[in-house]
């Protein structure tokens, strides 16, 4: 179904483009910091650049939810998947934050929680498969 749905095709292409942009920008910004050691506003602007494609993926997922308004069941599955991902990422972030606060875990850059959220989408997909196999889980 996903392959035939234009909303999913657009989503897949958008994510591929954004991930390509992310890799290229990340390499470029790393080279920039290694070679130019920027400071001030230029450093802040350059450091934020790799985050933008990731933010773009969040926007693309939001747009997918909007585009799926006519297919309410698939939209419900995607909403549940993203809620599971959010719960998963926030749970790990909270637990890790306290562990780090008590010096029981090393410092973790906050962007890793976005990575966890994307991993959480996989967990959400598994939750969907499990709940749907049991009769919908509503």
């Amino acid at each position: 179904m996903k392959g035939n749905n234009p909303a999913f095709r657009r989503y897949t292409w958008s994510v591929m483009l954004l991930m390509t942009a992310y890799v290229l920008v990340l390499i470029g910004v790393n080279l920039y910091f290694d070679n130019s050691a920027p400071t001030g506003a230029a450093a802040y602007a350059a450091a934020i650049l790799p985050a933008l494609p990731i933010v773009g993926v969040f926007i693309v997922i939001g747009r997918l939810l909007v585009d799926l308004r006519s297919d309410e069941y698939v939209r419900m599955l995607l909403v549940r998947q993203t809620l599971v991902a959010t719960a998963f990422a926030l749970t790990v972030a909270t637990v890790w934050g306290f562990l780090e606060g008590f010096d029981l875990a090393p410092h973790l850059e906050a962007y890793w929680f976005a990575v966890l959220w994307f991993g959480g989408l996989g967990v959400g997909g598994c939750a969907n498969a499990f709940l749907e196999s049991r009769g919908g889980g509503e």
């Binding site: 179904m1 749905n5 006519s70 297919d71 309410e72 069941y73 698939v74 419900m76 749907e132 009769g135 919908g136 509503e138």
Partner: protein, 71 residues
């Protein structure tokens, strides 16, 4: 929620994909509704009923009727 979608569809010789195309939803959605895994919203239930030229009650079985029959 139980319904008569499978029978209504079969009477017209439609596959799940045919029905999905007519309703502008995925086949996955039709399957979920047909098997009672997912209860459609009122607007979608109306679309389904109108597609078959029936009332909602003729397509979907009221949960109240189901429970009273069970008693």
């Amino acid at each position: 929620m139980n319904n008569h979608l499978r029978v209504l569809r079969a009477e017209r010789g439609w596959s799940q994909a045919d029905l999905a195309e007519r309703l502008e939803v995925s086949r996955q959605s039709v399957n979920a509704i047909e098997t009672g895994k997912y209860d459609p919203s009122l607007p979608l239930a109306f679309r389904i009923a109108e597609l078959f030229g029936l009332s909602i009650e003729e397509v979907f079985v009221s949960p109240a009727h189901q429970s009273s029959r069970a008693i």
